[in-house]
């Protein structure tokens, strides 16, 4: 059976990549990062994501999702954990998106990366500890991807399931 390619199960040693990513990105996207208010990554206001029209679809999706009232972009897309990790991820995304946006060399529809899929998953689990306490107990090794069933939670944009 085809396994969910976005399964957080296969998490990466992404921290290693971080350093590299930084090096490459800093120079290239400094301008965009500033101009496009890439610092919006450090804000919790969804509208800050909207500084990029590219994000319009997901904003619309979120705007119509069950979580509009309970979670903003960063509640799902940045780690809740310690600040170091939090700002690392924000940094990576800020630069990555700024870069891609500048070069325009990304394919649409946009697809979440494994790193961010894992971040989102962990945030689901964190907010829903109680709900998933039983199904998670067998979970340590291999969690079931939440969005495989709850594909509409973050963004009411999936026509159907996973």
């Amino acid at each position: 059976m085809a396994n969910d390619s976005r399964s957080p199960a296969r998490s990466r040693y992404w921290l290693a990549g971080v350093a590299v990513t930084f090096g490459v990105l800093i120079g290239l996207s400094a301008f965009t990062f500033v101009y496009a208010e890439g610092f919006s990554y450090f804000s919790n206001d969804p509208n800050s994501c909207m500084n990029c029209h590219i994000m319009r679809d997901q904003f619309e999706g979120w705007n119509h999702s069950t979580h509009k009232a309970v979670a903003t972009c960063n509640d799902c897309h940045t780690p809740h954990g310690n600040d170091v990790e939090k700002y690392l991820v924000k940094g990576i995304n800020g630069f990555n998106h700024s870069l891609k946006f500048t070069l325009g060399n990304f394919t649409e529809p946009i697809q979440i990366t494994e790193l961010n899929a894992r971040v989102a998953h962990n945030n689901c689990v964190e907010c829903h500890q109680t709900a998933v306490s039983q199904i998670s107990h067998l979970d340590v090794e291999e969690p079931l991807s939440c969005v495989r069933c709850h594909g509409n939670v973050g963004h009411g944009n999936t026509a159907h399931g996973p």
């Binding site: 059976m1 109680t130 291999e142 509409n152």
Partner: protein
């Protein structure tokens, strides 16, 4: 309120009792896992029929009279009902006429008794399978048990049935390396599969060596020459298919999308604020909300309508296939009566066998096509085509015989012209 909820959450998993490695009684396991136990016990409840499934164990032979004749000479033509909840797994086997009209091997117990693994360990795999069912009956106490699917220590899913392990190995799959999501289907695929009893020792075997779709399975049976019984009317060798849920499902889109049996048949339910897997294994049509709507954002009515459409198309083709197969049997019988020899009938028998195996593959599969809608229709189209071709061949043979007769005694014809 919050406090209780947080409490519930942290309590779990709380081991009230230590579960012995050989414990089969669900009640004991239930002490640690009351909610799963309660829902599992619900499988004794009759929630009534759905359009094509459900838990009302009506006689299929009465609802679809064609079956009696298609299975003529085989135990299934005597007693075959719509299946029901897991609580009846052992009882229904003990009570079926099929173990009365024919002496059955203990191999039958593999999927109907949680005691099977223990007995196999004691008696040995081959020995267990060929022992007469009636001789070990007294050893069977529990139908399905938690132990069939769970490791009592870790509660992780586990495979307990040897036939499945071997069948997967033959396909090059090592089940011990299965992912959690795969296990959510594998535990079911230990029993919800087509099977046969191989050789003298009646060893329970799944015919998957060439692949899982019906064409592979037919090719496999043709190669090893296995037949289940000889048809009472035609005298041809026949093969019966049983509950190939795993095989049909594997050809569908849900499988391709990584959806597991448990996703639909054991959806999560809320106990207070905690999610648990609904162990009331049943038709998803009585719980569309839990089984489908999380993934499919449509109204219950809309989703029901989609299943209805798929199943109605399948049911229509099943009836057409039955009509074609009955015509085939008529034609073969007529040819035989006109003196056709076994040699002359050999190819026709083979066509009839392949045609009826395909009908049975979809008919005995319990989702009425839902598990793989297009494939189900394709298989029935093949069944109809093969049945009609067998009918045509038999008619040709009949004419040959008649004209030979006429050649010998032309008078007859002249004497009674129509």
């Amino acid at each position: 309120n919050i406090q209780n909820k947080k409490a519930e959450a942290t309590q779990y998993p709380l081991q009230v009792v230590e579960i012995p490695a050989d414990e089969l009684d669900p009640a004991v396991w239930g002490k640690n896992f009351p909610s799963q136990y309660d829902s599992f016990m619900q499988t004794a409840t009759n929630y009534g029929p759905t359009p094509y499934g459900g838990s009302e164990p009506y006689s299929k032979l009465e609802k679809y009279p064609a079956m009696k004749r298609l299975w003529a000479g085989y135990a299934f033509s005597v007693d075959h009902n719509e299946e029901r909840g897991h609580q009846y797994a052992l009882q229904d086997q003990l009570e079926t006429e099929r173990i009365v009209v024919k002496e059955q091997p203990a191999a039958c117990a593999n999927c109907h008794a949680a005691d099977a693994p223990r007995l196999i360990e004691q008696m040995g795999w081959e020995e267990f399978n060929h022992t007469p069912y009636n001789d070990i009956k007294s050893e069977l106490h529990t139908g399905t048990s938690c132990a069939d699917c769970h490791d009592p220590e870790t509660m992780e899913l586990r495979i307990t049935r040897q036939a499945f392990v071997e069948a997967m190995a033959k396909q090059g799959v090592d089940v011990t390396t299965a992912s959690r999501q795969e296990m959510r289907s594998y535990v079911c695929s230990q029993c919800h599969v087509e099977y046969y009893f191989a050789g003298e020792n009646k060893v329970l075997t799944f015919p998957w060596e060439k692949g899982m779709n019906i064409d592979d399975i037919d090719a496999y049976y043709q190669e090893n020459g296995f037949i289940d019984w000889v048809h009472k009317e035609t005298g041809g060798g026949m093969i019966k298919a049983q509950h190939p849920e795993t095989e049909l499902f594997s050809t569908g889109l849900h499988a391709a999308s990584g959806v597991a049996c448990a996703d639909c048949h054991m959806p999560y339910i809320r106990e207070g604020s905690v999610k648990t897997s609904d162990h009331w294994l049943r038709s998803p049509l009585v719980n569309i909300n839990g089984s489908c709507q999380t993934c499919h954002n449509y109204s219950e009515a809309e989703l029901k309508a989609r299943v209805d459409t798929i199943q109605a198309r399948t049911a229509e083709l099943l009836r057409q296939s039955e009509a074609a197969l009955l015509d085939t049997i008529d034609a073969i019988v007529a040819a035989k009566d006109a003196g056709a020899s076994e040699e002359e009938l050999a190819e026709i028998y083979a066509l009839h066998r392949s045609a009826q195996l395909r009908w049975d593959f979809i008919s005995s599969e319990n989702s009425t096509g839902f598990h793989s809608p297009q494939e189900a229709a394709r298989v029935l189209a093949d069944s109809i085509d093969m049945a009609r071709q067998a009918q045509i061949a038999a008619i040709m043979l009949l004419n040959e015989k008649n004209s030979q007769e006429q050649a010998v005694a032309p008078q007859q014809l002249v004497n009674n012209p129509d």
